[in-house]
């Protein structure tokens, strides 16, 4: 077994398939051009590269129109575009106590300046959201429900399809943050009745950092969202106004072409993976179950209810040890790479009763193995017994 052992896939996936690396190098050495501006053959090739990413993402998440895939710098960029671009004076918004700061901070910003009213629905102590609590919070002026599909703290997966049905029935826009689930948990925007889906390219979709997207449902009028940035698009060059068609309405400036070249390869890898995302989810669930079972035998505290559906992200503590000390020993002595503390989700930690110290977090990925988990369990034992 090679070390270090990488268990920080909830932050970004590693390693990437070699095809992703080769695609980035191929763009940098063989294409190199900007997309959508000039008309020479390399510029066209760069444009095709972006189209391939849009087309693959549309197909993966159940969209008909690839132009409704807005490429962004990450999921945070996609969420800020959706939240700040959509919400207007006097709107009421519902979100949950398990949200990441990429959702809570733009909402809190709007609430604090008096633009919106915000209700944060409390999840149970394992982080699970009851869709009935969403229904009870709906008011006449509720315009948006923003929900984290899977928690970045403990992996709990929310009943997004049930919440989507409630939102559709009430005519409320439904925004889903799929930062932790896109690529490792099946998502279909039509079946789940999701209007706006924010995804990162660099986590389970296996692309490089600096890539993400906002997917807008085919039936959602994109003019309801104002652009958050303005500038050159390579299109409508005779006009000084921002174009109103997609994706140009939201995509000013030169995109991260090298990154998207890698993401196209990551998506291609997933599309060719036998059994698809369902099989990947099964593998990661098995890793999670294996770790949790062994960790519990060692007296480790796990901050989740294993009866809930979940991704392969686990939060835990070794009793009587500070999480920062354990994380340092994991990194320096054992060669285990993970995250510790508060994972950019203070409300989630309060919900799970892990505030303010936070937790240790293992985020397993497609390329992790049982052998690595056995090694981590041995490491936990060594740290605990050395006291």
């Amino acid at each position: 077994m090679e070390r270090p052992v990488y268990f920080d896939n909830a932050a970004t996936s590693f390693p990437k398939p070699s095809t992703v690396v080769h695609a980035v190098v191929h763009y940098m050495t063989q294409i190199g051009a900007n997309a959508g501006r000039s008309s020479h053959f390399r510029a066209v090739e760069a444009g095709r590269l972006l189209f391939n990413v849009r087309n693959s993402l549309a197909s993966m998440f159940g969209l008909d129109n690839p132009m409704n895939v807005i490429l962004t710098e990450n999921a945070t960029g996609a969420l800020s575009l959706a939240i700040l671009g959509y919400l207007r004076e006097g709107m009421h918004v519902i979100t949950s106590s398990m949200e990441h700061n990429s959702v809570i901070r733009p909402l809190e910003h709007l609430r604090k300046q008096g633009t919106i009213r915000l209700d944060i629905v409390q999840c149970d102590t394992a982080g699970k959201l009851d869709p009935d609590d969403i229904r009870k919070s709906i008011c006449n002026d509720t315009a948006l429900v923003a929900i984290n599909h899977a928690s970045n703290v403990n992996g709990v997966v929310q009943p997004v399809a049930e919440i989507g049905a409630i939102c559709r029935e009430k005519g409320i826009t439904f925004l889903v943050d799929a930062s932790q689930s896109a690529g490792s948990y099946p998502i279909n925007m039509k079946e789940m009745q999701i209007d706006l889906l924010a995804i990162p390219g660099h986590k389970a979709l296996l692309g490089p950092t600096g890539t993400g997207a906002l997917l807008i449902d085919d039936s959602f009028d994109p003019k309801r969202i104002s652009p958050r940035k303005f500038g050159g698009t390579g299109s409508a060059s005779s006009m000084i106004e921002q174009p109103d068609f997609l994706p140009d309405r939201f995509e000013s400036g030169t995109p991260n072409l090298a990154g998207f070249a890698g993401l196209a390869a990551g998506l291609d890898y997933l599309q060719r993976f036998e059994g698809g995302i369902q099989r990947i989810h099964q593998h990661e669930s098995e890793l999670r179950e294996y770790f949790v079972e062994k960790a519990l035998q060692e007296g480790v505290e796990i901050y989740s209810d294993e009866r809930n559906p979940a991704t392969a992200t686990v939060s835990f503590r070794i009793p009587n040890f500070s999480v920062s000390d354990v994380a340092r020993r994991f990194s320096d002595d054992e060669g285990i790479l993970c995250r510790q503390g508060l994972h950019c989700a203070p409300l989630a930690h309060r919900t799970l009763n892990t505030f303010p110290e936070g937790s240790l977090r293992f985020g397993f990925g497609l390329f992790n193995s049982y052998e690595e988990i056995d090694y981590a369990i041995d490491a936990i034992r060594r740290i605990r017994d050395a006291q």
């Binding site: 008309s39 066209v44 444009g47 095709r48 189209f51 390579g234 409508a236 006009m239 174009p243 140009d248």
Partner: protein, 75 residues
């Protein structure tokens, strides 16, 4: 392409590339070219195809919901 070819003009290169992909998927002989000098367009390139494929091309654009500006003679 023969003299009797047409071009599809677009507002955005994103739509041009989408159209090219859809036409190629339908095995239509087409080519991405810079917009000819006698035409003007918001987008730097356009898709050229043979005139005999005209109706087939329109069907594909319409069926796919692919936005375009207009169709013109290439020469």
């Amino acid at each position: 392409m023969p003299n009797s070819s047409f071009v599809i003009l677009f507002h955005s290169s994103n739509h041009a590339i989408w159209a090219e992909a859809a036409l190629k998927k339908a095995c239509i002989n087409c080519k991405m070219i810079p917009v000819p000098r006698h035409l003007s367009s918001d987008c730097g390139y356009c898709v050229e195809f043979e005139h005999t494929e005209h109706d087939h091309v329109l069907d594909i654009l319409s069926h796919g919901g692919i936005e375009y500006d207009r169709i013109a003679m290439s020469k």
